[in-house]
C-alpha cells in the first residue's frame, strides 16, 4: 500500500512537471498567436504548438528549437511562391498534419516545402504537399522518420521541377507509407546510408520513381512504382536490398522497371515487374542475387548491357515476356538456375519438376534487335521463329554457356 502510494505520488509529480514545463501553444487566426513564426519564437524547448484550421500565409519559418508542431484538420501554410516554407535546424522536432502549398521555384536554390538541416531525431508525418518545388528535403541529418505524407506535384519539365522526398548526406532515415506523384524524382537518395524505404507509392513522376546515387546499405521494400518516366534507377551503390516491390507500366524508349548501374552485392528478392518496356536494365553490376521475382509481360524482362559478373538468377518466374533475357556480348559469367520460363518448350520425362532439356533464354532475334532496332516489327514472325530455333540448336551469336540447366516445369509459388 505504501509502495503504491509512493508510485502514485511520483507519477503525479512527473505528470505535473511535464505539463508545467512543456506547455501547448495554440495558433489560430484570432488567437494571440496568429502566425506559426510568432509561436515558434515564443515557445520554449519541448513545447507543443497546435495549429488550428485556417490559412497562414508564411514562408521561411525556421524551427530552431526542439518543438512538436501539430496541425488540426490540416491547416494550410501558404508559401505564396516566395521561397521555402519550413526549415528545421534543431534536433528532436516533430511536424504533423500540415497542408503546405505554393513553394517558390528557383534556379539557384533548392526551395523545399520542408527542409531538415543538420538535425537528429526528427519526425515528419501526415503532411500534404501541393504546388511544390522540392517536397521534403533532408540534408546532413540522421535518425529521422518520414511517415504518411502525400506529395502531389505538378511538374511538367525536368529542368524546373524538384524531387518529392530528397535525402542528401543523411543516415538512418525511415521513409514509410508516403504517396508521391507528379514530381521529378519521387524519392531521391544521394550519399545516404542505412535508410529504410517501405510501403511507399511513387507514380506518374517525370523521371524516376526512386533514384539512388552513391548510397549504401539501404533497404527498399513493399513499394509500388508505376508509370514513371523511366522507372527506378539505382546507381553507384553497394549492398542495397530490394524486396517485394512492384514495378509497373513504365513504357517508353528509355524506360525501365529498374535501372541498375554500378551496383554491387545487392539482393533483389520477391519483386514484380509487370508490363515495362524493359524490366531490369543492368549495367556494370556484380554479385547480385535475383531470386523469386516475377517478370510478367515485359518487352524485355532483363537486358544485360555488359560488365556484369557473378550475378545469379535463381527461382524467378518469367511469364509471357517478348524477350526474356537480352545480352549484347558473347561472354557470360552469370548463373541462371531453377527459373520458370513460360517460353520453355522442353519436357520432363522423369517427372521431377525440372525440364530435361536446358533452356536458352537469349534468342538470336534479341541479338538482331539490339543491332537493328527496326527489326522489332518482325517479332513473332515464322521466319524469326525458324532462325531462333536454329540458333537454339547450335548457338553462334549468343553466349553458348548461357543456359538454365534446370528450368522448372511449373510456375513457382511462394
Amino acid at each position: 500500500m505504501e509502495r503504491l502510494f509512493k508510485y502514485s505520488v511520483l507519477y503525479f509529480v512527473v505528470f505535473f512537471t511535464n505539463t508545467i514545463y512543456s506547455q501547448t501553444i495554440e495558433v489560430c487566426e484570432n488567437c494571440t498567436m496568429s502566425s506559426l513564426k510568432d509561436a515558434i519564437s515564443y515557445a520554449k524547448d519541448f513545447d507543443t504548438i497546435l495549429v488550428k484550421k485556417g490559412t497562414y500565409k508564411e514562408h521561411n519559418i525556421k524551427v530552431d528549437k526542439p518543438l512538436t508542431i501539430i496541425g488540426e484538420n490540416y491547416p494550410i501554410i501558404d508559401g505564396e511562391l516566395k521561397g521555402e516554407i519550413i526549415t528545421i535546424v534543431s534536433d528532436d522536432v516533430t511536424v504533423d498534419g500540415l497542408f503546405l502549398i505554393n513553394v517558390g521555384t528557383s534556379y539557384t536554390e533548392d526551395y523545399a516545402a520542408i527542409r531538415v538541416r543538420r538535425s537528429k531525431n526528427f519526425t515528419i508525418q501526415n503532411l500534404v504537399l501541393e504546388k511544390l518545388f522540392f517536397g521534403i528535403y533532408i540534408e546532413k541529418s540522421r535518425d529521422g522518420k518520414v511517415f504518411h505524407n502525400k506529395i502531389i506535384g505538378d511538374a511538367v519539365e525536368e529542368y524546373n521541377s524538384g524531387n518529392g522526398i530528397q535525402l542528401w548526406y543523411s543516415k538512418n532515415i525511415q521513409i514509410e507509407h508516403n504517396f508521391v506523384q507528379h514530381v521529378r524524382d519521387g524519392i531521391y537518395l544521394e550519399f545516404s546510408n542505412d535508410c529504410l524505404i517501405k510501403n511507399n507509392v511513387s507514380a506518374n513522376n517525370l523521371r524516376y520513381g526512386l533514384h539512388f546515387m552513391f548510397s549504401n546499405d539501404d533497404i527498399y521494400q513493399d513499394n509500388t512504382f508505376e508509370n514513371n518516366g523511366a522507372g527506378v534507377a539505382v546507381m553507384f551503390s553497394k549492398r542495397i536490398k530490394m524486396l517485394n516491390n512492384v514495378f509497373k507500366e513504365n513504357w517508353g524508349t528509355a524506360s525501365y522497371g529498374m535501372l541498375l548501374k554500378e551496383i554491387n552485392d545487392a539482393e533483389i528478392l520477391g519483386n514484380t515487374f509487370e508490363e515495362n518496356t524493359i524490366g531490369i536494365n543492368v549495367e556494370g553490376s556484380n554479385r547480385i542475387t535475383y531470386k523469386n521475382n516475377n517478370f510478367i509481360s515485359n518487352g524485355w524482362a532483363i537486358k544485360v548491357r555488359g560488365a556484369c559478373y557473378n550475378n545469379s538468377f535463381i527461382e524467378n518466374n518469367f511469364l509471357y515476356n517478348s524477350f526474356d533475357i537480352s545480352y549484347n556480348s558473347k561472354i557470360n559469367d552469370n548463373v541462371f538456375d531453377r527459373n520458370y520460363w513460360s517460353n520453355y518448350t522442353g519436357y520432363d520425362l522423369d517427372k521431377d519438376g525440372i525440364g530435361d532439356v536446358p533452356y536458352r533464354p537469349v534468342k538470336l532475334f534479341s541479338y538482331i534487335v539490339n543491332r537493328t532496332p527496326e527489326t522489332i516489327i518482325l517479332l513473332r514472325s515464322l521466319f524469326i521463329d525458324i532462325i531462333d530455333f536454329s540458333e537454339k540448336v547450335s548457338p553462334v551469336f549468343t553466349p553458348d554457356n548461357l543456359l538454365d540447366t534446370n528450368p522448372l516445369i511449373k510456375k513457382i509459388e511462394w
Binding site: 517508353g252 518496356t277 518487352g299 517478348s322 537493328t372 527496326e374 516489327i377 518482325l378 517479332l379 521466319f383
Partner: protein, 260 residues
C-alpha cells in the same frame, strides 16, 4: 450472285473438307485451353497458328475448289448470267464457309471456357477478325492464280509458292534489307514493308495488343505514332480491306476477259 453463293456455300457445307477444317480448329481450341490454364497465353499460341495456317488453307482450298468445280462453272457460263456474279458467288461461298469453320471451330471452345467473363475477349475477337480477313485475302489470291492458270499442277505450284513467299521468304528478305540498310532511318521503310504483306500486317495488328511494351522500346517517332496510338489499328484494318478489294477486283476483271 446470291443464288450462286448459296449453291457454293451449301455445296461446301456438305463437303467433307469443311468438317475436317472445322474439327481441326475445334480440337486445337480445346487442346490449347486444356493445356494452358491461361486464356491470354492460348491466344498467343493461336495467333501463331492462325497466321501461318489460315493463309495456307485459304490458298489450297481456293485453288482446289476452282479446279474441281470447273465443269459446273462452264455449265453456268452457258446460262444468261453475269460472269462477275458467277465467280464472285463462288469466291464468297468458299471464303464464307472457311471463315465460318474458323470462327465456330475456335469460338465454341473459348466460349465454353468462359471467354465472355475474361479480359482476353478483345484480343480474341481481334484474332478472329484477322483470321477472317486472311481467309478472304488468300482465297481471292487463290482464285486469281487459278483463273490465270489452266494447268492444275502449275496452279497448285504457284499457290503453294505464294503462301511460302508471303509467310516465310518475304520476312527473310525484309530482315536482310533492314540489316543491310541499318545505317539509314528505317522506321518508314519497315512500316511500308509490313503493309505490303497481309500476313505481316495481321501479325502486327495482333502484336499491337500483345507486345506493345516491347514495340515501344524503339525510338522512331513514326513508330511511336503508329504503335502508341489507335492509328496503327485503323491503318492496319484499312490496309487489310485494301488487300481484299484489289484481288477481288482482279477476279472480276480477269473473268470478263477470259476465254473458256
Amino acid at each position: 450472285m446470291l443464288k450462286i453463293l448459296k449453291y457454293s456455300f451449301y455445296d461446301l457445307m456438305r463437303s467433307r473438307w469443311s468438317y475436317v477444317y472445322f474439327a481441326f480448329y475445334l480440337l486445337l481450341g480445346v487442346v490449347l485451353l486444356f493445356l494452358n490454364n491461361d486464356l491470354s497465353k492460348a491466344v498467343i499460341t493461336l495467333m501463331n497458328v492462325i497466321i501461318v495456317l489460315v493463309p495456307l488453307i485459304g490458298t489450297i482450298f481456293g485453288v482446289m475448289y476452282y479446279y474441281n468445280s470447273k465443269e459446273f462453272t462452264e455449265l453456268l457460263l452457258a446460262q444468261p448470267l453475269k460472269r462477275s456474279s458467277i465467280f464472285l458467288g463462288q469466291y464468297l461461298g468458299v471464303a464464307l464457309s472457311l471463315s465460318m469453320s474458323l470462327i465456330l471451330g475456335l469460338g465454341l471452345p473459348f466460349v465454353f471456357y468462359g471467354l465472355f467473363e475474361s479480359s482476353a475477349i478483345w484480343d480474341f475477337s481481334l484474332l478472329l477478325i484477322t483470321g477472317t480477313f486472311l481467309t478472304f485475302i488468300f482465297t481471292a489470291l487463290a482464285f486469281n492464280i487459278a483463273l490465270s492458270n489452266e494447268n492444275k499442277i502449275k496452279g497448285f505450284g504457284y499457290a503453294i509458292l505464294l503462301w511460302l513467299f508471303l509467310a516465310i521468304i518475304y520476312d527473310g528478305i525484309f530482315l536482310m534489307t533492314l540489316i543491310m540498310f541499318e545505317d539509314y532511318p528505317l522506321d518508314k521503310l519497315s512500316l511500308v514493308g509490313t503493309m505490303l504483306n497481309p500476313i505481316d500486317l495481321s501479325r502486327t495488328l495482333i502484336l499491337l495488343k500483345l507486345d506493345i511494351s516491347a514495340l515501344l522500346g524503339y525510338t522512331g517517332a513514326v513508330f511511336k505514332q503508329f504503335f502508341g496510338t489507335n492509328i496503327g489499328l485503323i491503318v492496319s484494318l484499312i490496309m487489310l480491306s485494301v488487300w481484299v478489294v484489289i484481288p477481288v477486283l482482279r477476279i472480276m476483271f480477269k473473268s470478263k476477259k477470259k476465254d473458256f
